[in-house]
């Protein structure tokens, strides 16, 4: 964990809604792993106050690629402050053949950095977008993209509907889910209910929630990101997360 300066080298629009920032980073951050993130501070003022939680989606030597909303203006040459690496890498099974990545009512940025490594290891990757519109044309063609109902008239139940639901869930050896920040536990509970309805059982180390609450400190000091596990245990999402086995989490 370090606080370092980084330089925005390049800003590249990838869709109507998103842009990618190519950021030259300190060597300590160049070794960041899928699942880990940084806390970024752009500019010197106090607005926004908290550091922004940035998830790398790609990596090239000393450059990290971050995906950011397209409506924020970033200037190449800007020096930014990064704290990281935040969190633990995703833990994949050794015998992994098929991974299901789900973005539910959010963009899939926290999940995307896993894709190159998984494909390189001949793991098949399915990206399921539920309740969210996200242009995927920049993703590798090997990634199977499924889309839930997103029309204006879609009900909450429609949003969780996509073709071949049982097959998609049955084939996956592991599932990683990112949800909207504002109702994180509620959304994970919905996903747990969905999987419970579509599978006979949910084994441990199968269904992971990628928690990304607002992080004031990012180092485990402020306790704002603490999640209760079943029993008396707790975990801090900034140091123990972001991916937590949902079978172990108290979702109420």
């Amino acid at each position: 964990m370090k606080e370092t300066q980084a330089l925005i080298e390049r800003v590249r629009r990838i869709s109507d809604t998103h842009q990618q920032l190519h950021v030259t980073v300190d060597a300590s951050l160049a070794a960041i792993k899928p699942g880990q993130s940084v806390l970024a501070r752009v500019g010197e003022g106090w607005t926004p106050y908290l550091r922004e939680h940035w998830w790398p989606v790609g990596q090239q030597k000393n450059t990290l690629i971050f995906e950011r909303p397209g409506d924020i203006h970033y200037e190449p040459g800007t020096v930014i402050s990064l704290i990281g690496a935040i969190g633990q890498p995703f833990r994949f099974r050794r015998t992994l053949r098929s991974v299901l990545l789900i973005a539910y009512c959010t963009d899939p940025a926290p999940l995307l950095m896993t894709i190159p490594a998984l494909l390189a290891n001949k793991v098949s990757v399915t990206l399921l977008l539920l309740g969210t519109e996200y242009d995927t044309h920049h993703l590798p063609p090997e990634v199977e993209v499924l889309q839930g109902e997103i029309s204006d008239g879609a009900t909450p139940a429609d949003r969780l509907n996509w073709p071949n639901r049982v097959t998609t869930i049955g084939w996956a050896d592991q599932v990683f889910i990112a949800v909207a920040q504002e109702n994180e536990l509620d959304s994970f509970r919905e996903m747990w209910a969905l999987f419970s309805a579509l599978r006979a059982d949910i084994p441990t180390s199968y269904l992971f929630g990628v928690f990304r609450p607002l992080l004031p400190c990012g180092v485990g000091a402020c306790s704002a990101c603490m999640v209760r596990l079943k029993g008396t245990d707790t975990q801090l999402m900034c140091t123990d997360g972001p991916a937590i086995d949902l079978s172990k989490v108290t979702l109420t």
Partner: protein, 289 residues
């Protein structure tokens, strides 16, 4: 330069720098070891401890504000004895005195927490966080109970906007210093649009607390006051010392810009204010201006 931050006495606490963190900002031990050189600080104040295990708050914990943040964590901790068990070795390695911050619900918990902490040589002082709803009678009762049961200095962290009776009660109880003050409580809408409550942090808190510190330093010149609220620059910290504080506690800026805590500590290293700056007198009247 050594700065005495509690009342004179056998166990008065003296520190090498008038800058420390506020409770709840640096964790229970060395969470910030990679980001902040703790040796630059005068003391380390722990996250709040309670007698029994407290769980994290349910619902929204963090609400971003314009130039600030509102936080409601529920003060999760495994209880004072477990914290001591888990963190004693870390505290022993810290290069600065450790101040244990304790939150209590009743006087029984005061007795029990103080008994646990009194046994720990590594704890240099105990800071009692008083609740926003506490009465003057309870303030005196809790603090006197604490003072009578320990040789260690007791610091009273006062609620935001506490009335003068509370301050008098704390001083009469024999506390070593007043920490002025806890972050104010606020209400704001979270990301989903729901109204939630929490403690408010940010630079806009500083002018309000600075005035309180200035007034209290003049009203109670014999009690050391530690200023805490909204410090975001070395000048903010200097302002507190000029207003009459003996030391300062820095809070949320540590999360946003950790190195700034170190910068503030280095900037104020050796700076001591034993008497309020008289140039400030007209600014800290009792509300007539």
């Amino acid at each position: 330069m050594t700065v005495r931050i509690t009342r004179q006495g056998k166990n008065a606490l003296a520190v090498e720098s008038p800058v420390m963190n506020a409770a709840g900002t640096l964790g229970f031990g060395d969470e910030y070891r990679d980001l902040i050189d703790l040796s630059t600080l005068g003391a380390f104040v722990t996250n709040p401890m309670t007698y029994t295990n407290w769980n994290p708050a349910t619902g929204t914990r963090v609400v971003p504000l314009e130039a600030g943040v509102m936080l409601h964590t529920g003060l999760p901790n495994p209880g004072v004895n477990q914290v001591i068990h888990e963190r004693r070795a870390t505290w022993e390695r810290l290069p600065i005195p450790v101040i244990a911050h304790v939150v209590v619900n009743n006087v029984e918990e005061v007795y029990k927490c103080i008994a646990s902490l009194e046994r720990e040589e590594i704890i240099a002082a105990i800071e009692l966080g008083l609740s926003d709803e506490i009465s003057a009678a309870e303030t005196q009762w809790y603090l006197r109970s604490a003072v009578e049961r320990t040789e260690k200095p007791i610091l009273a962290r006062m609620p935001f906007g506490a009335n003068p009776d509370l301050y008098s009660a704390a001083i009469d109880a024999g506390v070593g210093a007043l920490v002025v003050c806890a972050p104010p409580r606020g209400t704001a809408r979270d990301l989903s649009g729901k109204l939630v409550a929490g403690r408010v942090y940010g630079p806009t808190i500083k002018p309000i607390v600075l005035r309180m510190v200035g007034q209290l330093a003049r009203r109670y010149p014999r009690i050391p006051i530690i200023g805490a609220g909204g410090i975001h620059s070395p000048q903010d910290a200097r302002d507190y010392l000029e207003a009459g504080a003996v030391a300062v506690q820095v809070d949320s800026v540590t999360w946003v810009a950790p190195k700034l805590l170190e910068d503030i500590a280095r900037d104020l290293g050796g700076l001591e204010q034993t008497q309020p700056n008289s140039a400030f007198d007209s600014l800290f009247g009792d509300g007539s201006s």
